[in-house]
């Protein structure tokens, strides 16, 4: 194991540790070596916590050797989007405003991964405060797409997408307010899971929008997303948005295949969302493969995307403005231009618009729930096409293109982005599976069955100077 190889997946690393073929120290050194070799090109990490990681790896190694293995994640490296607190480390949110912000305690999610025995390798790049866009007027550069470093990673969990796609880490935490886990997963060719709102604690994570923020994992495989969610999910009484809902065994759910399930393909959403022909064709092919695997595929219609966008943008801009209003007034020069301008849009929203958006949100959520009376999982687009060039990424204050991913932030349903092919330019395409509220198990079951049949995870980015 060395810098030339991608880290094994969580599932594979767990098997290697259990069999004694790999150790936590070896895995940690491999992750650190690969991070050192690639970070100048990818800018995935804001901070690499090498000494802390080595100490944790040695501790894990002693525990496992002493017969005290905590579970399948023990001794495996992971990373945190730099809005997650880890005690003693800075949480900068990729911003000049928080350069000296040292966390006193772990976020609940960090604590759960640490309790599982995972090894923190470092803090990962994000769009500033998990909003805005890629910016060059910040203390840290924007992350770059491992499939082609001239291209955008997607955001805001940009470093998380880059670190997992490049094989530095098998697991990176992201956050998703309007697609910020699923879009970088889609552009970088990884798996990204936005759990149901309330499923995973947000305590200790820098907020962007209280009623839309959702924490979740980016991984290379769906099985790994299930393993990560098993560690992360559960009620946190100190997070007011946390749901007290039983957590099932996600790994067991993966074994069942898709036979007997009904998949609702929101094919019309491809037109509504101005999805590119090659992305739409990849979704058609995914639907056909699921049918071949024994699922019943029917077409369903989502409500108009502009209704979702009016909701998502009104709520998101209002709540993020409430959080940032004082800093925008007193020290606006510390923000990146794009962050400052997009946060400022919240000043233009009226109280009536905010309440109307919440009322419409209830209606839209009910309409999507109604679709689940006819099917078990939805299949939709999550991106309109492959990642754009970084220099062509829209950083204007108002993005004219309607994003697709925020539909399920509005409704709160669990949504999984995963590879479903490659564009002519070699960049990944992505499909999204969506389930009933708190039914991540069925979403993961469909995603896993599709992934195994389609085989897209076999292809890794070719990184010059390293074997893929």
């Amino acid at each position: 194991m060395n810098a030339n190889q991608p880290l094994p997946t969580l599932a594979e690393a767990g098997r290697l540790i259990a069999s004694g073929e790999a150790s936590p120290v070896e895995l940690t050194e491999a992750a650190l070596a690969r991070a050192a070799a690639l970070n100048d090109r990818l800018a995935a990490f804001i901070e690499i916590t090498a000494e802390r990681a080595r100490a944790a790896a040695r501790r894990a190694e002693r525990e496992i050797a002493g017969g005290r293995r905590r579970g399948r994640l023990h001794g495996i490296p992971y990373g945190l989007k730099d809005i997650y607190d880890a005690a003693g480390l800075r949480t900068t949110a990729h911003s000049r405003l928080l350069l000296d912000n040292v966390a006193a305690a772990d976020a609940e999610t960090t604590a759960r991964l640490e309790a599982a025995g995972m090894i923190l390798i470092g803090k990962l790049a994000t769009h500033e405060f998990a909003t805005g866009g890629p910016a060059f007027d910040l203390p840290f550069p924007p992350a770059r797409n491992p499939w082609n470093t001239a291209h955008f990673t997607g955001g805001s969990s940009s470093g998380s997408g880059a670190a997992v796609a490049s094989g530095i880490l098998p697991l990176a935490m992201g956050s998703d307010t309007g697609g910020s886990i699923r879009v970088p997963a889609a552009y970088c060719g990884t798996v990204g899971l936005k759990p149901t709102y309330g499923r995973v604690s947000r305590r200790g994570v820098v907020p962007l929008c209280y009623s839309l923020d959702t924490c979740g994992p980016l991984t290379w495989t769906v099985e790994d997303a299930a393993l990560a969610l098993q560690a992360l999910a559960g009620h946190d009484p100190r997070d007011p948005g946390s749901a007290d809902v039983p957590v099932p065994d996600y790994a067991t759910a993966l074994r069942h295949g898709v036979a007997g399930l009904r998949i609702g393909y929101a094919k019309g959403f491809n037109d509504d969302g101005k999805v590119a022909a090659e992305q739409a064709a990849a979704l058609d092919a995914a639907a056909a493969l699921l049918a071949k695997l024994g699922a019943e595929v029917i077409e369903v219609a989502l409500p108009p995307n502009d209704h979702f966008q009016a909701c998502a943008r009104t709520i998101s801009h209002s709540e993020s403005f409430a959080i940032h209003a004082e800093d925008l007034k007193t020290r606006p020069e510390l923000y990146a231009r794009v962050t400052r301008e997009r946060l400022t849009l919240g000043a233009f929203i009226t109280a009536r618009q905010y309440v109307q958006a919440q009322r419409l949100r209830r209606i839209l959520t009910r309409r999507v729930d109604t679709l689940f009376e006819r099917c078990d999982v939805l299949l939709t687009a999550v991106i309109p096409g492959p990642a754009p060039l970084l220099e062509e990424t829209d950083t204007s204050p108002w993005r004219s293109a309607q994003p697709l991913a925020s539909v399920f932030n509005v409704t709160g349903h669990p949504a999984l982005a995963q590879p479903c092919g490659f564009a002519a330019n070699g960049l990944p395409l992505s499909a999204q599976f969506v389930g009933r509220a708190f039914d991540e198990a069925t979403v993961l079951r469909v995603g896993h069955a599709y992934e195994r049949a389609a085989g897209w995870t076999a292809r890794r980015p070719a990184l010059a100077g390293l074997s893929g």
Binding site: Y197, R359, S396, A437
Partner: protein, 63 residues
């Protein structure tokens, strides 16, 4: 000044925000784009379409 421009300036003044002169045009365009999208929020809604307990917290059943 148009009503839009007056509303734009009033919102900024109330929030205590200033925009660098070279970015005012882009922000005004953003403001107009946002208001165009948000026009859908002017559609009439029934009394019972209300947002209490959104987002849902404690159950897997439809809200």
């Amino acid at each position: 000044m148009s009503d839009d421009d007056l509303d734009f300036a009033a919102a900024l003044r109330r929030a205590g925000l200033t925009i660098p002169p070279e970015r005012v045009a882009a922000m005004r365009e953003a403001y107009r784009g946002m208001q165009r999208l948000l026009a859908v929020l002017d559609d009439p809604l029934a009394y019972e379409d209300e947002p209490a307990q959104l987002p849902r917290y404690d159950r897997g059943a439809p809200s």
